[in-house]
């Protein structure tokens, strides 16, 4: 099976990684470059204890854990299927009591759905999944980008790297964050799932700050992507975005996490 797909106004490549699920790279929409690469570097899982009495609540006794989504946990083949108005990739992963289906859906109107369906029993009911997606958008080229968030009823430019949680505000289409290319005016719009409790990290691109092979840096240090966040300016540079969801097991399962992403301004 070829790893290049040209369909539904999209042309993109994919490969199965060792730990970050299916990676998409060099994606063009209507002949214009949109994405350098994107993947799902990891899904961490936290556990809680259920107690009605606050004074007996031990908090979270154990730390998080994770298992790579890659060749060692893949169940069956990576599937490429057309659907009405687009094409999608899907792969099922199983790691003991945790089961996932990773999806990349490309719509002919410029939408991308990088999603993760979560199911399986877990070790007990009180646990929270934290899928982390990393997107390196290169909209019409790598540089000349800006990052904006919708706040106080309007789009506001974010000047420096940081962590930007969903505050509940969104534009009329539900978009909360966007990456804009100065040259073309094209934009990548990101709409969170309303139950994802989502947040976005915006980080200036640097060689060496590639997708990590673990959420964990040194003991006592910030985890990734926090460890990559500094105070560097974003305006006019190359920006990397991380979308992080927090999905508690009391959600109805199976639950599909992940944002809607829509490319706009690249013409008909």
């Amino acid at each position: 099976m070829s790893n290049m797909i040209s369909e539904a106004n999209w042309k993109f490549h994919w490969r199965l990684t060792e730990s970050a699920g299916i990676m998409i790279y060099l994606a063009d929409f209507r002949g214009r470059r949109v994405l350098w690469e994107a993947s799902l570097p990891y899904v961490t899982i936290d556990h809680q204890r259920e107690t009605l009495d606050v004074k007996d609540d031990p908090g979270e006794v154990h730390g998080p854990w994770w298992v790579p989504l890659g060749a060692r946990t893949l169940e069956g083949p990576v599937r490429v299927q057309s659907f009405r108005g687009g094409v999608e990739l899907s792969a099922a992963f199983a790691a003991g009591p945790y089961h996932y289906t990773q999806l990349w859906r490309f719509h002919d109107d410029g939408r991308i759905s990088p999603w993760l369906t979560i199911y399986g029993p877990g070790v007990h009911d009180q646990h929270t999944y934290h899928p982390h997606w990393r997107f390196d958008f290169d909209l019409d080229g790598a540089r000349d980008d800006a990052f904006e968030r919708f706040e106080d009823n309007r789009w506001q430019r974010v000047e420096r790297e940081g962590w930007f949680p969903y505050s509940g505000e969104a534009d009329e289409h539900g978009n909360v964050w966007r990456q804009v290319d100065f040259g073309s005016g094209a934009a990548i719009n990101i709409r969170p799932h309303s139950w994802d409790d989502a947040e976005v990290f915006a980080i200036r691109y640097h060689d060496g700050e590639w997708a990590p092979y673990s959420p964990r840096s040194a003991a006592g240090s910030a985890t990734f992507p926090s460890a990559y966040v500094g105070d560097e300016p974003l305006d006019g540079d190359d920006v990397t975005l991380w979308y992080v969801a927090h999905v508690h097991f009391d959600q109805s399962f199976p639950y599909t996490a992940g944002p809607w992403i829509k490319v706009s301004g690249l013409g008909k």
Binding site: M4, R15, T17, S19, L26, D28, R33, W36, D46, Q48, E60, H62, G63, P64, W65, W66, P68, R72, A95, G96, P97, G120, P121, V123, H124, T128, H130, D138, G141, A142, R160, W163, D197, H206, D207, G208, E209, W210, P212, Y213, S214, R216, S217, A218, A219, G220, S221, A222, T223, S226, A227, Y228, V229, G230, D231, E232, D238, V244, H246, H248
Partner: protein
């Protein structure tokens, strides 16, 4: 949902975390130890890095998709040989107590001088020094182009996962808690939440035992430095 995301929030930096002055506009990974790159004898025709990026390479839209292709066995061997011959890792290679975590193709963007080169990212855990090695090997030039030695904890290799299972399976405290039909279901990379937990700073795995229907019964935490089980926890109490 808000109270449930406490641990993640706690790990987040302030929005305007100051950068180390030494970074001078270029970031480095936390606790990274960097030293000048060792250049082994050149290969017959190594492509010289251009002093200035040419216009075609500076365009991400002209990136070569084949650079993302999976590595061949020969490329993996080449990358590991190059890395273990690097003087900065001589102590690791000599002692030989390390695990290769993974090798994957790496593609850097123009205008970086390595854009267009066949690169391999190699991640190793060095048990002798209790450190992670994260390297980029340039196969075209035959050099280690980027090397970070950190106290980070990369994912477990398949060998480490298998080792953790074998250690847990022979531990008496684990065996006495297993019910008939319980088998190892999965091995996860685990770290403790607080410094009181041995797994906070030490390389550890959690082996989940359970029934074939997916129901978990017992979790054993294995310290991979000392090769022993440090915790045995019923799944419902995890």
């Amino acid at each position: 949902m808000a109270p449930l995301k406490k641990p993640v929030k706690a790990a987040k930096p302030a929005k305007s975390k100051p950068k180390p002055a030494a970074s001078a506009g270029r970031k480095s990974a936390p606790a990274a130890i960097k030293s000048p790159p060792f250049r082994p004898p050149p290969r017959p025709t190594p492509p010289a890095p251009p002093s200035t990026p040419d216009s075609s390479k500076a365009d991400v839209t002209r990136a070569d998709a084949t650079l993302f292709d999976p590595l061949t066995p020969g490329e993996i061997a080449d990358a590991l040989r190059t890395l273990t011959e690097d003087r900065r890792l001589s102590s690791m290679a000599k002692v030989g107590r390390y695990r290769v975590i993974c090798n994957e193709p790496l593609v850097v963007k123009p205008p970086h001088w390595m854009a267009g080169h066949r690169l391999v990212r190699v991640v190793i855990y060095d048990y002798a020094a209790d450190r992670a090695v994260d390297a980029c090997v340039d196969l075209d030039a035959g050099v280690v182009a980027h090397l970070e030695l950190t106290k980070g904890q990369p994912m477990l290799s398949r060998d480490e996962e298998a080792l953790a299972v074998s250690i847990a399976m022979v531990d008496d405290r684990v065996r006495e808690k297993l019910a008939i039909g319980d088998t190892p279901q999965s091995t996860l990379h685990y770290w403790g939440r607080t410094s009181e937990d041995l797994a906070y700073a030490r390389r550890s795995a959690a082996v989940v035992f359970g029934r074939p229907d997916g129901h978990a019964s017992v979790i054993a935490v294995v310290d991979l430095i000392e090769n022993l089980v440090t915790q045995v926890v019923p799944a419902e109490l995890w």
